[in-house]
Symmetry: C2
Subunit: 108 residues, 2 copies
């Protein structure tokens, strides 16, 4: 499913949020029947570094940011409706310019 879908059906949602960076980044875990999960999250404006364990697909539902992907010096501008991939066991940097609503998928 992409972020263009209005909702995820037949899922479980954890009631307790994940909180990062003093609450400027929060997310909620959505579990699917096939055993996979995604997180739906909010990032307030700021600069963040994140690490991955699994490979990730970050779909930006709304907002704007720049991302510096692992091994790159370039900052890519990403807006709502766009997405980017991050490999496993890597770190990436974000500059969030306006509140970002995102969906992150994880791949093993």
């Amino acid at each position: 499913m992409s972020q263009a879908d209005a909702q995820f059906d037949n899922v479980s949602v954890e009631t307790r949020a994940n909180v990062y960076h003093d609450g400027k980044v929060t997310s909620r875990v959505v579990k699917f029947a096939d055993g996979s999960h995604k997180t739906l999250g909010i990032m307030l404006p700021g600069e963040y570094t994140f690490g991955t364990e699994a490979a990730e697909l970050m779909e930006i539902t709304a907002g704007s940011l720049e991302v510096q992907l692992p091994g790159s010096d370039e900052w890519l501008h990403i807006e709502g409706g766009q997405s980017f991939d991050v490999p496993a066991n890597a770190s990436f940097k974000l500059k969030v310019h306006s509140l970002v609503d995102y969906c992150c998928s994880y791949f093993k």
Copy 2:
């Protein structure tokens, strides 16, 4: 279900967040098979006034706040694990002291 439950099962989740107060308050809609819905939300520290349409049960999963309920001059201190009810068609005030993770249920 109460906020003590680890997760909501067999639900639908809207992929787009609700954003209030310049992003200091955000929530996501969770829809249940019986047609009811709840919101899972985050409130960053600050002072807020909210209005209700339906009656609401606010269950605080984590964090601390004070609430002034409709028709009251009193500020009630509420911590994670506690809850409060708000009648329909009313307004209430909140002072959020530390990041609040909440579940709001709506009653017709």
